[in-house]
Amino acid sequence: MMRGQSLIVHSLLLPTAVMLCVAGGTACADENGDAARPVDFARDVKPILAAHCAQCHGALRQRGGLRLDAGSLALKGGDSGEVIAPGSADDSILVEYIRPDGDEPPLMPPAGEGTPLEEEELAVVTAWINQGARVPATEEIPPDPRLHWSFQPVERPLVPEIDGKPVSGNPIDAFILAKHKELQLAARPETDKATLLRRVYLDLIGLPPTREELHAFLADESPSAYETVVDRLLASPHYGERWGRHWMDVWRYSDWAGYRAEVRESQPHIWRWRDWIIESLNADKPYDQMVREMLAGDEIAPSDPDTLRATGYLVRNWYKFNRNVWLEATVEHTSKAFLGITMNCAKCHDHMYDPILQRDYYQFRAIFEPHQVRTDQVPGQLNTEKDGLVHVFDQDLEADTFLFRRGNEKHPDKDNPLTAAVPASLAPVSLQVQPVKLAPREYYPGLRDYVEEGNLNYARAALRNAEAELKKLTDQLTAATQTAKAEEAQQPPPETLPSPLAMAAAAKRVAYELLQLQSVQARIAADRARYADPPAENAEALAQAAAAAEREANVAKAQWEVAKAESALQTAKDAEKPDDDKTKQAVTKAQTDLDKANKDLETAVAAREKTDGGYSPFGEVYPAHSTGRRLALARWITHRDNPLAARVAVNHIWLRHFGSALVPSVFDFGLNGKPPTHPELLDWLAVELMDHGWSMKHIHRLIITSRAYRMSSTVGDATGNLAVDPDNTYLWRMNARRLEAESVRDALLYVCGKLDMTAGAPEIDQPDGQTNLRRRVYFRSGKEKQMLYLELFDQANVNDCYRRNESIVPQQALAMVNSPLSLSQGRVLANTLTTATGEPSAPESTENFITAAFEQILCRTPSDEERATCTEFLRKQSELLAAPGELTRFDSGPEVKTKPSQDPALRARENLVQVLLNHNDFFTIR
């Protein structure tokens, strides 16, 4: 049967074999289907087997004892013998398994665990076997993936010596220089002072230096001038805003997103996490501590609202419609952000490259299975829609985790609930889970002083309002009666008088609110006794009193409702007109309402007969324990022996200082990622981070004071380097970079003197970005809630942004030229600079103005050529603008509040400033 079938396959393969010949140009087949030119195993066959087979028959796993990731191993076969018969594909078990059987798919790869070979691929494998299944004599056997570099312990490497001598100064330079020596690259010299100053300002605080700061730095000739600036910038509160935004990319900051007012993703009030990030960075909170607080702040410091904010990191994944989507995002991005591991690849099957099983994926998920999101009240605001502290906690301590077969949530493997664990192959330590006992105030927010106070205040205010209403009605009645008496006339017109029923209702309301206040007081007293440690002796008695008070209040409430319904019925009856159906319906409805109110009253009265101590808590009472799983994970990630966390962290920092990363695949340190360009430097920095208490400012300072960082970004006379390292992988010069979206807007406002530097507080509506002048980091950013102006400049994709894009498109130019923000700010700055440098009528002021504008916007003085160009422009443009009758206005566009100057010379200056705000050197960090 096999043989007959293979004939059919052969004839089918004929055209594809020819195609192969055309497409590849390498392995050509003759008309018998056998290749005339030999198939090369390494070039032609190995990639096919690697893509389709090696996942289960490779270095990591050897199903059936078979490996197909190396030719010699493939020939050796598996537990049940050889699978390849050299010279005869038809007799090879391998081919039998990977070839379709008529219309049936092939046996291998098994459905759902890989894709069958394409016809062309099958033809290549067949041809290779038919040609004798030759494999290279020297062949590299893929090593065990557990031995991959990033899974090995981090140890501090020796700082390289150059020409046998230690390199003085910053060790970073020794590592960089060693590579330069090896590749014979010539490093570029230190850049000029002005460029360096602008570079370090934008890098550390996201804002350029002012003219005064520029002048001061140029004048400071002390050897420590640069270090002084670096220290000042690292101490600036704007450092946290700048680097906070970077980490918000990595940690996927998102304000709530959804449809109209409906929250579908993330949560309101998550801005507190943003403030926590910024504050923590400014305080140089250790990185490991930040990671622990984000993953398990509620288990570390459950009573500290400042720390609880950090768990916004997890809150951000909240998703209204599907818990699996929520947890998938949590697993995927926790492993990518902190470990540089693509755990998500193991959701449907074992990881294709890394030593992570599908089971590992779900065990990792189990760490997060119990957690949920809640919003606690904050002092001064009991309405959590208006404000609140949103954070995570463990809700369902016994929640099961099941492996989803093929990743499909419809097919959970319910027979095998999984425990929480981390992939054993990633680190030599395991998860140490210890349940966390919570204090009553932590799991029952109703006990907190400000909540108790708030509830009492609310009840007192309700009582006051009730009393005021009753007094108002009484006063009306008194006034009307007195007027009637004084005038000795007829009765006052009945409609101006409060009805007796309304009066009765108001009185019932007062009665209720009084009892309600007493009930609140009694419940608070009972709560305090019950949750005291140990519980107070009179706790049971107080509970019974509270329950009784609550039942009394409930009766009073029901009585009030009845009185209101009676009053409403009377009003409806009074308004009823025989020929108006609407009024008749109103009476019917009022009667129904009254019936219901009476029924509720009966229920409340009946309930009053109870004597138990069950009273209502103030809000939710959450579980008194947390599983401790997330804290265990956080400790595992930040454990000194975890080989990944510190490497991943310093790589992210390096990327944002240099514009290129040491490990280019910043979220994938696994086997499919890119190897480090400077492995020893990466490890040295990782150890340095850990040995310095995970201080990020320490790493910043090291990097920024290195010679590598201070190099010129120009090629200059080092053109020889271009042949060896055209992409500057080995950092023989600095990389020039484009400002990120946020910095484009912030820097524009800042140089024009209009940036509002207020820090923190709730997010600002994103459409206000053209008129509200605060830093971008404080505006709302959600899936559909983005600022178009900045989106054009590659603002972070809230879903996933481990690394920013740097696109250049004409729409950016239009936004910079035509947006109200740019137009008005250019006008403002021109006037400010004119005030500083003199009116255009003063002959020498033009030169001063041009210099000032260059310094203010580009942080450098103009060259003679630039100065001449600008002077000529100002002259010509003034002339042009002096004859407005001959000019054509644009007939559309936005209304801009700040109008152009009436003075043609001044308006020309505005034009010049607007041009400089669009200058390449403005967008570029050189």
């Binding site: 989507v325 200059g716 030229v817």
Partner: protein, 491 residues
């Protein structure tokens, strides 16, 4: 920072001077950080050259938001009239309730939603239908003008999707269910793969009000990880305000702004002498030149007064109900005439699920919406044909799902992901064929079933692109993401 240049200044200025001949801008524009210098060699972004000979240069993608009834449009089912009012389970077609597609072919977002359920009581066709054109394909009477074009159309009657709610709009454009995350849309892929034919216009244009936030929002024409340079650019047919930031407003003189652009160009070129290797600087100089030209080129596209009265009428510009959509269709013609790659027109946005979402009053609603779109779309086909553009322009008409054979709310139909219709025309697509089929009551796609990515695959195939060769490293695509071109309808 000055004076370190080794390139002779004169030589350099000549290189960056008019024409920019030595620099492929599209390559520069694509140099957007997805790939970085240190990764080059291993992988490079698309060059803008098709992978194989294309049949079409441009795509016009018409999307009806809310879910157009397939049975009352392009897949008439007389059995519905025969068994009108009967429960499916009591008819000879009761097998549809046992089909495996019911489970496999469905991924529910909100389990207890009021909508998105099987409706059992069969609802008769709300409009008549007849054979049209030489091919005799049956189309409903709500599409009389389009009926005249049927011999240019390939109707695909066997579509399926999996979202039973309007996230299916997002799904139709990305091929992925809304629960699965963020993915590029078909327009973004085309733009990414092919880049520009006309530098003065955005290459991926979106008209009509896009999908609402409920159902994908701006992500429905977004590029996701391909980068914002490949997002669809929203264009209004109003020449006063065609693009965001298209003009600076009446305070500014045209001559004044021209002077600014000239100065900027001059200053940037002077400064660029210091950075001859800085591709980004050169690209930005060019991008400002483009922006300046775009300011006038874009409003030109929507100056319909340049078209004859007869052409305007062909698209229905003279009638109130067809004017809005007709203008968008005419703009689409003028855009592809100018080399724009991908024009995506949305119809039926109502800030929510979409106007086509006929849970009730299907007859009234669909009659009105077909009335708004029938003539303009027919006009589009006829006009492209006589301009000689239909051969190289692929038109796709689509909607997120069909509607239930059974009735909802007495006079409507519910969402139906199990079987529905789309059609394609022009751009190397066969005319006058109906491909695939649903069962006798329009419930399940049964013959030649196609998931939405098969439409994407067909579009890319006609553009000469192989989606497998567009894959970005680190962004795994599943087999189903690529789809398979619908070979039977390709000429």
């Amino acid at each position: 920072m000055h004076g370190q240049s080794t390139t002779p200044r004169r030589q350099f200025l000549a290189d960056v001077g008019m024409g920019f001949t030595g620099l492929a801008l599209s390559a520069m524009l694509h140099r957007d950080g997805v790939v970085r210098g240190d990764e080059q060699g291993a992988w490079t972004p698309p060059t803008g050259v098709p992978h194989f000979a294309p049949k079409a240069k441009s795509v016009i993608w018409l999307f009806m938001i809310g879910g157009t009834s397939h049975m009352e449009s392009f897949d008439p089912k007389p059995e519905l009239n025969k068994y009108a009012g009967e429960e499916i389970g009591n008819t000879p077609h009761k097998d549809v309730l046992e089909a495996k597609f019911l489970d496999d072919n469905l991924r529910v977002v909100v389990p207890n939603d009021a909508n998105g359920h099987i409706r059992h009581k069969l609802y008769p066709l709300q409009v008549g239908f007849q054979k049209r054109g030489k091919s005799g394909i049956e189309i409903s009477d709500w599409w009389p003008h389009l009926g005249e074009c049927v011999d240019d159309m390939a109707i695909v009657r066997s579509m399926w999707t999996t979202d039973n709610n309007h996230g299916a709009q997002y799904q139709f454009h990305t091929g992925r269910h809304s629960l699965e995350g963020e993915f590029p849309t078909i327009g973004a892929w085309a733009h990414y793969g092919l880049g520009s034919l006309n530098d003065n216009l955005p290459q991926f244009v979106v008209m009509g009000t896009p999908i609402a936030d409920c159902c994908g929002g701006v992500r429905g024409h977004g590029a996701s990880y391909l980068g914002p340079a490949h997002n669809g650019v929203e264009l209004n047919v109003d020449p006063q305000n065609p693009l965001p930031f298209a003009a600076p407003g009446g305070d500014v003189y045209r001559e004044e702004q021209r002077g600014q652009f000239e100065l900027l160009n001059q200053l940037n070129r002077t400064a660029a002498v210091e950075y001859p290797e800085d591709q980004a600087s050169l690209a930005r100089i060019k991008s400002y030149e483009l922006a300046y030209r775009m300011q006038s080129a874009v409003p030109d596209v929507v100056r319909f007064s340049e078209e004859t009265q007869e052409t305007q009428q062909l698209y229905g510009l003279d009638q109130k109900e067809t004017k809005d959509f007709g203008e968008q269709c005419l703009a689409a013609t003028r855009l592809v005439e100018r080399g724009v790659r991908f024009v995506q027109i949305f119809h039926g946005s109502n800030g929510g699920a979409g106007a086509w979402d006929a849970h009730s009053n299907l007859q009234k609603g669909h009659a009105k919406l077909c009335g708004q779109t029938d003539k303009p779309i027919a006009g589009l086909i006829k006009d492209l044909k006589r301009r000689g553009l239909l051969e190289e322009t692929l038109i796709v008409w689509a909607t997120e799902f069909g509607r239930t054979p059974g009735t909802q709310n007495s006079n409507g139909r519910d969402h139906h992901p199990f079987g529905f219709s789309v059609w394609l025309a022009g751009g190397g697509i066969k005319g006058g064929i109906a491909h695939g089929a649903t069962d006798a009551i329009g419930f399940h796609a049964i013959d030649n079933r196609h998931y939405v990515t098969d439409v994407h695959a067909t579009v890319l195939h006609q553009l000469g692109l192989d989606p497998r060769r567009l894959v970005v490293p680190g962004r795994k695509r599943l087999e189903i993401d690529f789809g398979r071109p619908i070979q039977d309808i390709i000429a």
